[in-house]
């Protein structure tokens, strides 16, 4: 069973190599990438089951013992992230294949799309399985390198422009992270996360604080925290719909994952340099409020969703800043919820674009009548993201607010107020999309319906103002989106199990002694 951990990374890597070699045959590429990602999903499922019943697994790559070699380490949290990300990657792949078949591969040139997509998957899985800071950096670089290619697919003017912003920002964050690793190595003499955690307690307070801030800066740019979030709405929406969906779901969450690891394993409350909880609260509040205010004035649905994406990262940071077991538990649930829902919404918007010919709500109308299925597929995740009771968005937010109320303190209450307002504003922004794009009739648009609110909406700067409607909606794209909607609904149905899992996860990731002993005393001979 321990071999499953490296397989998680090897399968998509080998798939990428095979897909690259078979670039002459698109069908073979599709077969390779879908089977590689299906295999990853199965492996991730097994890992979740295994870590939940037997506890975390550590494996020493190349049989080098822990502090010297590279450690791969999977606990409940990383196994859950692996499972969710492989499910998301698989359904988005199906969606992209559907779109590629319909368009004659116009938006997703298959020859390079499949290998790059699998490399992105491999990079994500490296980041989620590693127990070594430098290997985490390598994982980040693998997934960022692939994301540069995916974001600039086709190389149109708008994408190159967006790509330049994204790439330069990502490079800066990588440099921060690498410099932080160098300093951590200088201070502790190791890059193994467990050993760093063991030695960080012996550092003087100011050194530890410096390392802590440097690491958080690198991760915060990746996770798009305020004030390092402005690059995101300018870069994600220009990519092809499936690429935007994957980026929105997964890339920022890698940053959140790394922040969770930093906060729980490397710099816990009690240790030196650990007291960044209050600043993080304020960052969470600013991320929530500024992000959602941006979303409230967007006319372009993709941009609007990018702003809600930025905003909702604040919820997870709030949970991490609480760092109580309940807070972390709710954070784990919220990460899972947010990955699936945000991806689903972007996939649904891809469908809206095909039906309506544009993504600007000032030019969309009558979609409910024209495409009722697409309307349903948009409506459910929209309510979900807005936090309407039966859905997972409500459960996640309720969990976070409950954890906050339990802890108390005026800062926490201010953030709670901001979180509730953000939830309402999310609902407002999404329901306006619903009212304008789906609910109002075509006649209303033709009559030149206008109101004060519509006139203040900000259009996408790259929007040429055209409407293309001749495109079809392939069944494969619709079923991939429907599948994701079902997954988001399953998060509600299995919420009890997930929260119980989250509870075990929270107690596992806060138990640093156990982590350290698992990673460092694992016998190398089994690897």
């Amino acid at each position: 069973m321990r071999m499953l951990v490296p397989l998680m990374v090897l399968v998509p890597l080998l798939g990428a190599a095979l897909a690259l070699v078979s670039s002459r045959s698109p069908r073979l590429q599709i077969a390779i990438s879908s089977s590689a990602l299906s295999a990853s999903t199965i492996i991730a499922g097994l890992l979740v089951w295994q870590t939940d019943s037997n506890g975390s697994t550590a494996i020493q790559v190349g049989n080098w013992a822990a502090p010297w070699g590279i450690t791969l380490w999977v606990d409940r949290f990383s196994a859950m992230m692996l499972l969710v990300s492989s499910v998301v990657l698989l359904s988005v792949l199906v969606y992209a294949v559907g779109q590629g078949i319909a368009d004659g591969n116009r938006e997703t040139p298959v020859t390079i799309f499949h290998p790059t997509y699998l490399m992105l998957a491999a990079g994500l899985f490296v980041a989620f399985t590693t127990g070594d800071l430098f290997n985490l950096y390598v994982g980040f670089e693998i997934l960022l390198g692939s994301s540069y290619v995916l974001l600039t697919l086709g190389g149109t003017g708008a994408r190159i422009r967006a790509g330049v912003t994204y790439i330069v920002i990502s490079l800066v964050s990588s440099v921060f992270f690498l410099a932080a690793i160098a300093m951590v190595y200088g201070a502790t003499g190791t890059v193994n996360m467990a050993q760093v955690a063991e030695r960080i307690g012996e550092l003087p307070d100011d050194t530890a604080l410096l390392l802590h801030v440097m690491l958080l800066l690198g991760f915060a740019i990746k996770a798009a925290l305020f004030p390092m979030s402005f690059w995101l709405p300018d870069s994600y929406p220009t990519a092809p719909a499936p690429v935007t969906a994957v980026f929105a779901g997964l890339l920022t969450k890698v940053g959140v994952y790394a922040i969770v690891r930093t906060e729980t394993l490397l710099f816990p409350d009690s240790g030196p340099g650990g007291d960044l909880r209050t600043p993080m609260m304020w960052v969470a509040l600013a991320t929530l409020v500024v992000g959602i205010l941006g979303a409230a004035v967007q006319a372009d649905i993709k941009r609007l969703l990018s702003f809600t994406l930025v905003s909702h990262i604040g919820y997870m940071i709030f949970g991490i800043a609480l760092s109580t077991p309940l807070g972390l538990n709710a954070t784990v649930y919220y990460v899972v919820h947010h990955i699936t829902v945000q991806t689903t919404l972007f996939l649904a918007v891809g469908l809206v674009e095909r039906v309506g010919g544009t993504t600007s709500i000032s030019r969309l109308s009558g979609l409910l009548r024209r495409a009722p299925l697409v309307a349903v597929l948009f409506f459910i995740p929209a309510l979900n993201l807005g936090g309407i009771p039966p859905f997972s968005g409500f459960l996640g937010k309720a969990g976070l607010l409950l954890a906050g109320a339990e802890q108390g303190g005026w800062v926490v209450w201010v953030v709670i107020a901001g979180a509730v307002a953000t939830s309402l504003l999310t609902l407002y922004a999404l329901m306006r999309v619903w009212n304008m794009a789906f609910w109002r009739s075509d006649a209303e648009l033709e009559e030149g319906y206008s109101s004060q609110y519509i006139n203040t909406l900000v259009e996408n700067p790259d929007d040429a103002g055209e409407v293309r409607t001749e495109e079809s909606t392939p069944r494969l794209m619709v079923s991939a989106t429907a599948g994701m909607v079902v997954v988001t609904l399953a998060l509600t149905i299995f919420a009890g199990n997930l929260f119980a899992f989250g509870d075990r996860t929270a107690s596992e990731i806060t138990d640093r002694e156990a982590v350290i002993s698992t990673v460092l005393t694992e016998e190398a001979t089994h690897g």
């Binding site: 116009r106 670089e141 149109t156 330049v164 330069v168 410099a179 160098a182």
Partner: protein
């Protein structure tokens, strides 16, 4: 842990220069800035390995304090490879961006990469090849001038006895047209 002051100063200068250049608008300068910062970070890792000048790994039973720490060097090697890949990608991106900038307003409307773009691409490439031609002609012309001067000298000396003598300039111009 002791570190070399020279390396620290070099690193600081590289960081400062790198950040300054990174903030420029021109993409090639951004690339230079990124390379400076990336290499400054590599230096930072090297500085963290302690004082330079010790021998590399010697034998199994050697005292760890007598040889240099090999891990930062491995880390730097990995970081260099990653920087190399990213630099290559950035160069391609800069070239593409330059290519699109040449299209002007048309660049924003290039959407159908594989259909309509083919025509546009041809257009642009012919434009660039015209440029190349002009450049070659200019270069040839300067060569021609030199060669003509030489030929004249030779002509004066030999008094041009061969009627089939081909001017060197003609040959050069012909080559310019081919490319």
């Amino acid at each position: 842990m002791s570190a070399s002051l020279t390396l620290i100063v070099v690193m600081a200068v590289m960081y400062a220069a790198g950040v300054y250049v990174l903030l420029e608008r021109s993409l090639t300068r951004v690339l230079i800035g990124f390379m400076l910062i990336g290499n400054a970070t590599n230096l930072l890792i090297l500085i963290m390995s302690g004082r330079a000048g010790k021998p590399p790994l010697m034998s199994d039973d050697a005292d760890p304090s007598t040889f240099a720490d090999p891990l930062p060097q491995a880390l730097i090697l990995t970081a260099i490879v990653i920087n190399f890949g990213v630099t290559a990608f950035l160069l391609a991106l800069i070239y593409r961006s330059w290519w699109l900038a040449r299209l002007g307003d048309q660049g924003d409307t290039v959407v159908l990469e594989h259909e309509e773009d083919a025509g546009l691409a041809e257009e642009v490439f012919s434009e660039t090849s015209e440029d190349d031609d002009a450049l070659h002609e200019a270069l040839d012309a300067s060569e021609e001038y030199v060669e003509e001067a030489e030929a004249e000298q030779r002509a004066i000396v030999q008094e041009s006895t061969d009627p089939n003598h081909r001017k060197p300039g003609e040959h050069e111009r012909h080559r310019g047209e081919e490319s």
